[in-house]
C-alpha cells in the first residue's frame, strides 16, 4: 500500500470586506461575499498521514496534542476528506504555525486551508482549487479565502457549490502591507462560531448585509487600480460596520480594547499628517494597519512608540495553499 502522507502550507488572510453572519449554518454559507489578502508572515504548515494502523485520529498543534473541541473540529474535517476518498483510516495530523500562537491572531483560516490540502492529497485526492476552497469552507468559513494566492474574493453563493474563493489578483499585483499591532494576547471571550450565530440578533445586521455588495464592488475596483485612498476608506467602514453588528448583538460582543480605540484615532492623525495608512479589525482587539510597502517602516516605527502595542507583525501579500511534500 502506498504512503498516505502529505504536507501543505497555507497563509492566514486579512479581510478587506468582512464575513460576519451566515446564510446557512450547516453548509457554512456566509451572509455576504468578502474580499481578502493572504498574509505571507502568518503561515500554517500541516502534515497529514493516514494509516489503517491508526485506531484514532491524533492531532498535534505546535507540539501539543489537542483534545476536546479543537480536536473534534479537525476530526470532523478529516471525516469529510475520508468520505470523499472512500478511505477508512485513522490520521496523524501535525501542524505548526509560523506565527506566535496565543497572541490573539486567528489561525483557523491558515489551519483549515493547510489541513484541507494536506489531508486531501494524503488521501489520494487531486482536488481543483475550487473544490479545495469549498472543502476548506466547511472547516472554517474564512479558510476558503486562503486557498487561492494573493487577493481573493469569496462569493457567498446560494448553495455549497457556488460558495468558494477565487483569486482576483496575484500576490505580486500590489506591494501592500498588513502591519498588525497586537494590543492583547488574551484569548477572545466569544469565538467566531458563536459570534456568527449571534449576528442576526443585531438590529443593524440586515442593513450591514445589504450594504456589503456596494462596498465590495468599490473595494475590488480600488484594489485592481491600486487606489489605496479609496480602498482604505471602504475597509475602515466595513470593519466598523462589522463591529457595530457585534456590539449590538444580543448579547453584545465588545472585542475592542482601549488600545484598539487609541489606534483608530492615531491612524486618523497619521493620515492627517500625510502618512497613508488605514485600519481594519478581525473579530478581536488587534488592529491591522494597511499601507504600501514604502510606508511600512514608518508605520512600524510609530507603533513601537505606543505603550498599548505589545508586538508588531508585518505581512505582505502571501501565496495560496501549496503542497510541500511529497
Amino acid at each position: 500500500m502506498s504512503i498516505l502522507k502529505a504536507t501543505a502550507a497555507a497563509c492566514a488572510n486579512i479581510a478587506f470586506i468582512k464575513y460576519w453572519g451566515q446564510r446557512d449554518v450547516e453548509l457554512n454559507l456566509p451572509a455576504n461575499s468578502s474580499l481578502s489578502m493572504n498574509l505571507d508572515r502568518l503561515t500554517t504548515v500541516t502534515t497529514v498521514e493516514f494509516s489503517p494502523d491508526y485506531d484514532d485520529d491524533v492531532v498535534i498543534l505546535d507540539g501539543r496534542e489537542e483534545r476536546g473541541e479543537a480536536r473534534q473540529r479537525i476530526v470532523a474535517h478529516l471525516d469529510r476528506v475520508r468520505a470523499m476518498a472512500g478511505l477508512r483510516a485513522g490520521a496523524r495530523v501535525i501542524s505548526k504555525n509560523s506565527f506566535p500562537t496565543g497572541v490573539g491572531l486567528a489561525s483557523s483560516a491558515s489551519g483549515f486551508a493547510a489541513l484541507s490540502l494536506a489531508a486531501s492529497r494524503a488521501a489520494g485526492l487531486e482536488l481543483s482549487q475550487r473544490e479545495l476552497s469549498i472543502l476548506a469552507r466547511f472547516g472554517s468559513g474564512s479558510a476558503c479565502r486562503s486557498i487561492p494566492g494573493g487577493f481573493s474574493e469569496w462569493t457567498a453563493g446560494t448553495c455549497s457549490e457556488e460558495s468558494f474563493a477565487r483569486q482576483i489578483a496575484p500576490p505580486e499585483h500590489w506591494e501592500l502591507r498588513d502591519v498588525i499591532a497586537i494590543v492583547s494576547r488574551a484569548h477572545k471571550r466569544v469565538g467566531s462560531t458563536e459570534g456568527h450565530a449571534l449576528a442576526p440578533t443585531s438590529h443593524l445586521y440586515q442593513a450591514r448585509v445589504a450594504s456589503v455588495a456596494g462596498r465590495l464592488a468599490q473595494a475590488k475596483a480600488a484594489l485592481l487600480e491600486k487606489d489605496l485612498a479609496t480602498l482604505g476608506r471602504i475597509i475602515e467602514e466595513d470593519a466598523i460596520s462589522m463591529h457595530a453588528v457585534m456590539m449590538t448583538s444580543r448579547p453584545p460582543i465588545y472585542y475592542w480594547l482601549p488600545g484598539s480605540i487609541k489606534l483608530i484615532h492615531e491612524v486618523q492623525n497619521w493620515r492627517a499628517e500625510g502618512l497613508e495608512v488605514y485600519f481594519t479589525f478581525d473579530a478581536g482587539p488587534n488592529i491591522h494597519l494597511i499601507c504600501q510597502a514604502a510606508d511600512q517602516a514608518e508605520v512600524e516605527r510609530r507603533l513601537r512608540d505606543i505603550e498599548e502595542v505589545l508586538e508588531v507583525i508585518v505581512s505582505g501579500p502571501g501565496p495560496g495553499a501549496r503542497v510541500i511534500e511529497p
Copy 2:
C-alpha cells in the same frame, strides 16, 4: 414701562433613547422619538433682560462675554421670542452653569431650556409647557426634553406643533443616578449640529431609526415599572447603535476614547460581580453610568480607582425648567 426681566433655571438631561439625525433640519424635527432623565446636578441659571435702551444683544456665559457663533445662536433664539411677543428691544443675557464648563458636558440642553423660559417670561409671555418645549427645541433639539421635570419623552412628530417633550414620570418616581465619568475634558471635534447632518450618510442610519420605536416602548415600560435590568440593556444597545451610526457616517465620527472602551468593559465586569449598573454615552467620550441610588457610592468608589477617569459627577432625577424670579 414694566421691567422686562426674568431668571429661570433648567437641568441638562441624559437620553436613555437617543436623538441622532433629523427629519427636518429647518424645524429641528428629530428622526425618532427619544426618552430622557433630567440631571439635577447639571443646571443652568439664565437671566434675560430686554430693554429698548439696549442697541444690541449682549450674552455673558459663566462671566465671559460670548462672541461669534455661540452668541449668534442665542441671538437667533431671542429673535424667536421677540417675534412671538411683538417686542423690539435689545437683550442682556447672563447665564451660569452649575457644573464645570469645558469638561465635555453638553450645556446646550439646559442652556436653551433656561433661555426659553427666562426670555419668554421677560418678554411678558406666559407659555404652556408644550409651547416652551417647542420653543426650546428650535434652540437645541434635546433642550425640549429639559422643560418637563423628571423623566420625559420627546415625540418626534411630523410637524413643529407635534414635536415636543412631556413628562412620563416625575423626579420622585425613581431614585436613579447618572454617575458621569469624565475621561476627556477636550472639546469635541465634531459638534452635534454637524453630526446630525452627517447621520443619514451612514449605511446603518435607516435601520437604527426604524428600530428605535421598539426600544423606546420597552424602555418606557421598564422605566414605569422600575425594571433596571430591562431598561439598562436597552439603553446600552441604543447608545451603541447611535455611536455605530456616528462611526459609519461619511466622514466617520469617532467620539469614543480608550477610557470609554475601558469603562464599557468594566461595566460588564461589575455587573457580572453583582453590581447593577449600565452605561450610556452622549455625542462624546464621557460615559454615563446609570444605577439605583443604593449603588451610587460603590459605583463612584470603583470609578475613582480608574486612571482614565478625571472627574466624577453624580446626578439624580432633576426638576423641570422653572422661573426663579420675579
